[in-house]
Subunit: 113 residues, 2 copies
Amino acid sequence: MNAESAIEALGALAHDHRLAAFRLLVQAGERGMAAGAIATVLGLPNSSLSFHLAQLRGAGLIVQQRQHRSLIYRANYPAMNALLGYLTENCCAGSDCTAEALCPPSDNERKSA
Amino acid sequence: MNAESAIEALGALAHDHRLAAFRLLVQAGERGMAAGAIATVLGLPNSSLSFHLAQLRGAGLIVQQRQHRSLIYRANYPAMNALLGYLTENCCAGSDCTAEALCPPSDNERKSA
DNA sequence: ATTTCATTTCTATTTTTCTGGAAATATGTT
DNA sequence: AACATATTTCCAGAAAAATAGAAATGAAAT
C-alpha cells in the first residue's frame, strides 16, 4: 500500500453512495449482491450505481464475479485491511503504536494474516 | 462516529496534499508544526495549504493552536482512531471480527482506550 | 440465431473541489 | 503608533467528480 492507492481507496469510501454500497456488501458477506439488487436497495439509477461500483472496484475495495446473468459484487476484506494498516502504520511516528488487529477477512485466511 | 462524519474524514484524507500534511503532522507528534513550515515542506502556496488544513480541521483530524505569531497544527489521534473504529466496526458483519487495537493517542490516554 | 435481461459505457450537463494571487486579519516587535 | 510577520479569507478561473438518460454490450434462454 502506497500513498497513491491509499488516496484512491479513501476517495472511493468518501462518498455517500459508495460508502453505503460498500457497507451493504460488507454486510452481505461471502454471498455478495448483484448490481441490480444494490441499485434497488440504495434507490439509484443503474448507470449511476455502475459508476460508483467501478470506483470502488478500481480502488480494489470490492470484487466482481459473474453469476448467471448477474454481476455479483463482494467486499474485499484484505484490501480493506491493507488500507487500515496503511493508516495505522504511519500513525504514532515510531512511538509504541501497537495497531495490529484488523478485520480477519475469512476463515481460510485467518492464519496467514 | 456516523456515516456523515466518516465521509468527511475519509474525504479529507483522500487528497494528495492533505494526506501528506496529515502524515507530516502525525510524524511531528505533540510538537506539531506551524502552517508556514508545512507549506515549505510540501512546497505549497500558503493559500492553498490553508484551504487544505481547513478541510482537515473541519473533519476533526487536526487541531489548531496559536503559538506566538504562528498557528501550530497537530494531528488529532482520537479522531483518527474513531474513524478506524468506525470502519472496522462495520466490518465483518457480525462474524468474529476482533478489530480493537488502534493507535494509542498519547501517554495519558493509554489506559482508558 | 434471436430474444431477453442485467449491466455497463457513452455523452452532455451540472455540481463540487482545487488553485493561487491579492487583500485582509491577527499577533508580535520596535 | 507604525511596522513586520504569519496566516487566512476572498475571488475567479481551472480541473475533477457526479448525475442520469440513451445506446451498447455481454451472457443466457428459447
